[in-house]
């Protein structure tokens, strides 16, 4: 397969993401301990767990912002250390913070990030992103004047502006009203259908239930349960998280 090129930079192509026995320590504190899972193209994987479970650390590792203390993260045939820039060109991240400059307009933000990702026509990329966000008529307004939902839409399109193979989302439903959350859900389903690998860390189990193809439950930095096509997610979550000594072993459910 010929690699995609963007401004002379090879963009990494991969069909799956495999986390193999990954641990991450911050000094003496174990943020993550021996995590193993796999996510495939055209699927949404949910990272579920309470605050402090290690979801955001896992996303930072997947985004190549952090290095595992031990274990390996494989992006198809690639590993993070050896293919830094090429891999980053294939990854889109929507963080809990939106990664947008409030003083700049939506268009300026999108054109700036299109440039950072080496897209040849920044204006066209920004136009397409604004249209996808439903904000074509507000493109020249500063982001600081937008509502939370509008900012979230711009931020999602910023994360998608380079058409990443892997999309990482950290609590994307936070602060959204029902309509905006449903629209975000529909957008994620479209992305799944287009073959993206989506990893979603969330507390919002009701919204996640209809979206997830696979759920990985984290608690105290350990993976305590994995379920394929989970249903009754809230009951499952409550059951897993209230089990005594839940961190001592991994259970699995196939839906």
């Amino acid at each position: 397969m010929n690699p995609r090129l963007r401004s002379g930079q090879a963009v990494a192509e991969f069909d799956y993401l495999a986390v193999e026995d990954v641990s991450r320590h911050f000094g003496r504190r174990r943020a993550l301990s021996r995590i193993t899972f796999r996510a495939d193209r055209g699927a949404i994987l949910g990272l579920l767990g309470p605050n402090g479970a290690g979801k955001s650390t896992m996303l930072a590792l997947l985004a190549t912002l952090l290095r595992p203390t031990s274990g390996t993260i494989r992006y198809g045939d690639h590993v993070a250390g050896a293919h830094g820039a090429g891999l980053r060109a294939s990854i889109g991240v929507l963080g809990h913070d939106l990664f947008l400059y409030p003083e700049l307009t939506a268009r300026e933000n999108l054109e700036f990030f299109a440039g950072l990702y080496g897209l040849p026509d920044r204006r066209a990329a920004a136009d397409a992103a604004l249209e996808a966000a439903g904000l074509s008529d507000r493109g020249n307004d500063p982001v600081s004047s937008f509502s939370r939902g509008m900012r979230q839409r711009v931020a999602l399109e910023r994360a998608l502006i380079h058409q990443p193979r892997l999309l990482l989302l950290d609590e994307p439903f936070t602060g959204l009203d029902d309509g905006s959350a449903a629209a975000l859900g529909r957008r994620l389903q479209t992305l799944r259908a287009s073959g993206a690998i989506i990893v979603l860390a969330t507390h919002d189990l009701d919204l996640a239930e209809d979206l997830l193809d696979r759920a990985v439950f984290l608690r105290d930095g350990r993976m305590v349960h994995a379920a394929d096509r989970p249903d009754a997610l809230r009951a499952m979550y409550r059951d897993i998280m209230t089990r005594p000594n839940v961190a001592s072993g991994l259970s699995r459910t196939n839906g």
């Binding site: 401004s7 400059y101 700049l104 950072l116």
Partner: protein, 225 residues
């Protein structure tokens, strides 16, 4: 691609600053206040102590620079946009150079106002040798900003970053500030010795080369974890 990223980051910072003028106002206000206080304290009957003008000029530049460095990276921290910059496939040293150029432009703009003010209040003939003055200011500013940009980026996620930045920055940049003061002082001597000036400027250029090389070399690994 490297130059394009540098330009994008610089233009973005410049656009934000032109819209808010936040760093320009705070930096200038602080630097001018600093010069005024020292002028009232030190200038007696229209006469300033020998070497006072050079020292005050560089103190004002260093303090204003520290303020500008902190605020520039505070902006990147507020919406975690520094993470977004690091997530992009762009060469990370290019991001560093873009931020560095923004700081240098800002400090040079502050110096355009500070230098005449110091010259006026301290009766210092700073403009007698404008080319030498420009060389001293440029090389000194680059050295200070090269280290400052690296440390400010490193500390952006540290809880006590406002305290740590000057604590780390000043000991490392003391040679640059001393060289700047001595070079500016030599410029103000009744008989300007070009040989002495050349030595100080050469020293400043050496600091710039060393600091820039180290910063470009260490920026990516320091920002990765």
């Amino acid at each position: 691609m490297f130059a394009q990223i540098v330009w994008l980051v610089l233009r973005k910072d410049f656009t934000i600053e032109v819209r808010s003028l936040e760093i320009a106002y705070t930096t200038l206000f602080f630097a001018i206040s600093c010069v005024l206080v020292f002028a009232f304290a030190l200038v007696q009957e229209g006469r300033a102590p020998e070497g006072g003008a050079a020292g005050i000029l560089w103190i004002a530049i260093a303090f204003a620079g520290t303020l500008a460095l902190g605020r520039t990276f505070e902006r990147e921290r507020q919406a975690e946009t520094l993470r977004a910059l690091l997530l992009a496939p762009a060469a990370r040293p290019a991001v560093y150079v873009g931020k560095l150029l923004g700081i240098i432009v800002l400090l040079l703009a502050a110096e355009v106002i500070l230098v005449p003010l110091v010259a006026l209040l301290f009766q210092a003939p700073l403009f007698a040798h404008p080319v030498w003055l420009a060389l001293i200011l440029l090389t000194g500013t680059v050295g200070f900003a090269a280290v400052g940009t690296l440390f400010a980026a490193m500390l952006v996620r540290a809880r006590s970053r406002d305290v740590l930045l000057p604590v780390l920055l000043y000991p490392i940049t003391v040679p640059v500030i001393i060289a700047g003061v001595r070079a500016t002082g030599a410029l103000l001597a009744p008989e300007v010795d070009a040989g002495v000036l050349q030595v100080w400027v050469a020293l400043l250029v050496c600091f710039d080369v060393v600091f820039l090389t180290l910063a470009l070399w260490t920026f990516e690994p320091l920002m990765t974890d």
